[in-house]
Point group: C2
Chain length 296, copies 2
C-alpha cells in the first residue's frame, strides 16, 4: 500500500467523506469546494431516497436522454433546471437587490441581441395581429429620481404565445422586440399586443417529468425586459398578467408578486387615439427601479 488514507475504504456511513477526501489534490480550490458540497448533498439524497438498483438505473437513463435531446437550439438541461426551480434560485442568489429596487427573473431562451433601437412610442407589433396594448412608466433610481439614458430592451410573445424566432416566415423578423432609450424624465412608452401564455417545450424528458408530476408546461403571459443604465445594475426581468390562468403555476417559477402588472382594458376612442391606437386596448403602467452599480 503506497499511501496513507484518512478515511480508509468506502463504507455506507463514511461514503461522502471518503469521496471528498479523494479530491484533496484538486488545484482549483473553488472546484474542490463545489464538488465537496455536491458530493455531500448527493450522498444525503441517496441515503434518504434509498433507491433500488432499478430506480438508480432509471435516473441514469433519464439524465442520458436529457443530454441526448440537446442540440444547437434546444437545451433540455436548462429546461430541467427551470422546472426544478434551480434557474430561479441561481437568479435570486445573483440578483439580491437593495430595498425598493425592482426584482429580477429568468432571462429565458428567446432574447435576441441586436433588436432595432426605436423611437419612444413605437409599435413593436409589426403584423397588426392581436389586441393592442400601450405600455408605459418610468425608469427610476431607488430614491425615486428618473434615470436618463436608460436602455430598455423589450421582447414578448404574440397573441398566440409564440416569439418571432419560433415562427420564422410566419412573423416578421424582430416582431415584438424593440430597444428604447429614456430622456431626462426617465419615461418610457411603446405599443405592442397583449401577450399570451405558452408552453415550454414539452415533447422531451422534461415534458415527461412534468406529466408524471401532474404539472402543466405553461408560462403565464408576460413581457421581457433588460434595462440598463450607466452606473446602475442591469435588470433582467418580466412583467406578468395577473389575470392569466397560469399566474399561480408558472412552469419555471418566474413569477414574483412585485412583477405583477395590471392590464387595464380601455374602451375609449379618445384615449386610444391619444396613444396612437384604436379602442379597445390594454393600458399597462409599470415603473422599474434600478439599484446603483455599487449596490448603494
Amino acid at each position: 500500500m503506497i499511501e496513507e488514507h484518512e478515511y480508509g475504504y468506502f463504507t455506507e456511513a463514511d461514503s461522502a467523506d471518503v469521496v471528498i477526501a479523494r479530491n484533496k489534490n484538486a488545484k482549483d480550490e473553488r472546484l474542490k469546494a463545489v464538488m465537496a458540497v455536491l458530493v455531500r448533498k448527493l450522498h444525503e439524497a441517496v441515503k434518504e431516497i434509498e433507491p433500488t438498483q432499478e430506480e438508480w438505473f432509471r435516473a441514469i437513463l433519464y439524465l442520458t436522454e436529457t443530454g441526448q435531446i440537446c442540440n444547437e437550439w434546444r437545451q433540455e438541461f436548462i429546461l430541467l433546471s427551470d422546472v426544478l426551480g434551480v434557474s430561479m434560485l441561481v437568479d435570486a442568489i445573483n440578483n439580491r437587490k437593495p430595498s425598493g429596487a425592482s426584482e429580477s427573473t429568468v432571462l429565458g431562451p428567446f432574447h435576441v441581441a441586436g433588436a432595432p433601437e426605436l423611437p419612444m412610442g413605437a409599435d413593436i407589433c409589426l403584423d397588426q395581429k392581436g389586441e393592442p396594448m400601450f405600455v408605459h412608466g418610468h425608469i427610476l433610481d431607488t430614491k425615486g429620481n428618473p434615470i436618463a439614458g436608460a436602455k430598455i430592451d423589450v421582447w414578448q410573445a404574440n397573441d398566440e404565445g409564440f416569439y418571432d424566432v419560433q415562427q420564422k416566415g410566419l412573423q416578421p423578423d424582430f416582431n415584438l422586440r424593440g430597444v428604447f432609450r429614456t430622456g431626462e424624465d426617465g419615461r418610457y412608452w411603446f405599443r405592442g399586443v397583449k401577450p399570451k401564455f405558452y408552453p415550454i417545450p414539452d415533447d422531451g424528458p422534461v415534458g415527461k417529468l412534468l406529466g408524471a408530476l401532474g404539472r402543466h408546461p405553461y408560462r403565464p403571459a408576460h413581457l421581457h425586459y433588460i434595462i440598463s443604465a450607466e452606473g446602475f445594475e442591469t435588470l433582467t426581468t418580466h412583467i406578468f398578467d395577473p389575470d392569466d390562468r397560469y399566474i399561480d403555476s408558472d412552469a419555471v417559477f418566474g413569477v414574483k408578486k412585485s412583477l405583477l402588472a395590471e392590464f387595464v382594458p380601455v374602451n375609449d376612442e379618445a384615449a386610444a387615439a391619444k396613444v396612437g391606437l384604436s379602442a379597445p386596448f390594454y393600458d399597462v403602467a409599470f415603473d422599474f427601479v434600478l439599484s446603483r452599480a455599487d449596490k448603494s
Copy 2:
C-alpha cells in the same frame, strides 16, 4: 387567479418548498417522494455553493456533454455515478448483509451473460498470456457450513488490464471467464492469470473531471464474482490484490477491507504440478459467505 397556492410565489428563502408544493398532484407517490428529496437537496446545494450564472451554465454544459458522449457501449453517467461514489452507495444500501456474510461491490460494465460452465479446476485463461494463478476456497453459509450447488460466475481482466470484450480479435471469446458449480464440500478452484490494474474510460467528461480533481482513473487489480445458490442472496463482488499500487485509491471506490485477498507467490514445481500449473505461480485462497435469502 384560478387556484389557491400554499407557498405563494418563488422566493430565495422558500424556493424548495414552492417547487415541492407544485408536485402535489403526482400520481406516483414514490416519484413524488423522490422528487421532494432531490429538489430539497439540490436547492440546499445551490444555496451553499452560490454559483455564479457562469458556473451554473458550465454545470449545464457538463451534464449535456456527459449525456451526449453516451452510446450503445458507453455510459458516461454511470461512470460519473461511479467516480462520485454514488454507485457504491446504492450498492451498499441494496446489499446490507448480516454479520459474517461476504460484502458486495459494484458489478461493473464487463460482465457477459452466458459464459461457459466449466469443470471445477479449469483454466479460464485461453491464450496462455500472463502469470499463472490458482484461485480456490469455499462457498459457505453464515454458520460456516459448505453450500452445495452454488454457481460461481467469475470474470477478470488479463495481465495487461483488458477484458476479452475490450480486445475482440486480440483475446479469444470468453477469455478469462467461467462458470463453476460447487459439490457437497462447497469447494471451488480454478486457474487464471494474475489480473492487472486498468483505467476506466478517461477520454470524456468524467476523465476531465478526475484530472481537474487531481485524481487518476485506475482501478486496482481484481477478480469479479457473481455467486448464487438456491435459498441464498446472490452475491456480486470482487476480490482485490492488496499489493496493487492503486488499492487505496480505486477510481470507483469499489475496494472494501474484507475483499482484500492475498496473492501468494509460489516457486515450487511440486506445488505447481499439483494444481496443473508450472512454477512460479500465485496462490489465491478466498472463502465467500452467502446470507440466506430470508436474511436470517
